[in-house]
Symmetry: C2
DNA sequence: CGACATGTTGAACCTCATCAACCGACGTGG
DNA sequence: CCACGTCGGTTGATGAGGTTCAACATGTCG
């Protein structure tokens, strides 16, 4: 984004801190704002009427949260970790986007990326085994945390280890598994030496290629 | 779309007929065109290195097919039925979109809809039972075929029955199941009277609410 | 310390995948 | 014309991968 755009955005922005576990947007009420994630991890959640739950997306900094043109939002957004977001009132943001084709273009590309990510995940949910699912998730986080700078949470970094932003329960909801299965598969990956865990939430990956193989991908390929 | 837009589109368009089973776009080669589906059903497919397959999207008329701004296309597009499409060379189409914010806006909204659909399907893949999956698919098709006009294929219509655009194998790949499981679940739905089948590919739904219930949705709700 | 949340491990069960046989429709060629 | 292969679909028997239920461990906070 150029200077003008950033200026314009800042002039209507308001930052906010949200604790882990808090609901940011409900699927019941229409969204009133658009936001940019500064730090932390946000879960997008869908529920069945009888209470089953599926995480349909994870958002990290600097992802966007919210619906561009205010139809109502079909999922819950919940903070997985403590989250810092930068909020824009919906109406003001939309005006800005309307008058700024470049910004709209950026939003469009971000949305296409999200669509790709969602479809990758459909392959995982529909066709991968429990071990591949868990390995895929750990690989996703490992790449994210190690490549895109530090973790911002004071854990890991130096020795190449990093923090998992989700609890076992959240992982299960993201992978279409149960808590127990996630736990067992992590144990298996530890035993086989593919990952090492300093604690329940801090992990290290000695050999990314092995993890990628366990995730059912040929070394180089996709996310 | 307004008259000018349609004019502009038509001037660069070329229609084409594609037989069921033919590949329209490969994930290997970069996409060279953008297209509009006139009739028929297109599958978007993802594969694992070892040959497992997942359908990550279905496209019907009048959906768009292709990537707006020519990054390479990460999936296969294959004709599920005979398909009629209207093709635009990528470069020309992009120029048109660039100069036409309204059209871009439309594309954006379509993409958001696809994202919602993908995430709905993630819930299905991750958390629904085989019976719910099959019922959900049949419900999706039933609503689509019965609401949005006729079926264009000469089957069904009059008596409220309609054709299934997918084989059992395709349904399995769409639902994250095996052919056998799909077949058995359809049999179960027939036995319980929730659906009736005139032949393997032609179906009728006496009571949509019952089908919706079998799909694990409360009567009114989502797709 | 006790209460509660998060995570691990074990045993039993069940859903769905796998393997296999079979059916009907269709097209081809002897 | 009918044998033959193929393709899409159905049905059955069996078994494995994951769920479920339950107990236990660990960590944190009052």
């Amino acid at each position: 984004m150029n200077e003008d755009q950033i200026q314009a955005l800042n002039s209507i922005a308001r930052t906010r801190l949200i604790e882990a576990g808090q609901v940011i947007m409900s699927d019941q009420e229409p969204a009133t704002f658009f936001a940019n994630i500064i730090s932390g991890t946000v879960k997008l959640i869908k529920n069945t009427p009888d209470g089953r739950q599926q995480i349909v997306g994870l958002l990290f900094a600097p992802d966007f949260l919210g619906r561009a043109f205010s139809r109502n939002n079909p999922y819950f957004a919940e903070a997985a970790t403590d989250v810092e977001i930068c909020m824009f009132p919906n109406a003001a943001f939309e005006r800005l986007v309307e008058s700024n084709p470049d910004l709209q273009h950026r939003l469009f590309e971000r949305t296409l990326d999200e669509l790709d990510a969602a479809r990758d995940w459909m392959l995982l949910l529909g066709r991968k085994t429990a071990e591949e699912k868990v390995a895929s998730f750990l690989l996703l986080i490992a790449r994210r945390q190690l490549l895109s700078g530090c973790t911002h949470d004071g854990l890991g970094q130096a020795d190449g280890s990093f923090a998992l932003p989700l609890t076992r329960a959240d992982m299960a909801d993201y992978l279409g598994l149960t808590i127990e299965t996630v736990s067992r598969q992590i144990t298996r990956l530890k035993l086989s030496g593919i990952v090492a865990m300093n604690s329940n939430r801090v992990m290290a990956v000695p050999d990314m290629a092995r993890l990628a193989a366990a995730a059912g991908q040929t070394a180089a390929a996709q996310g």
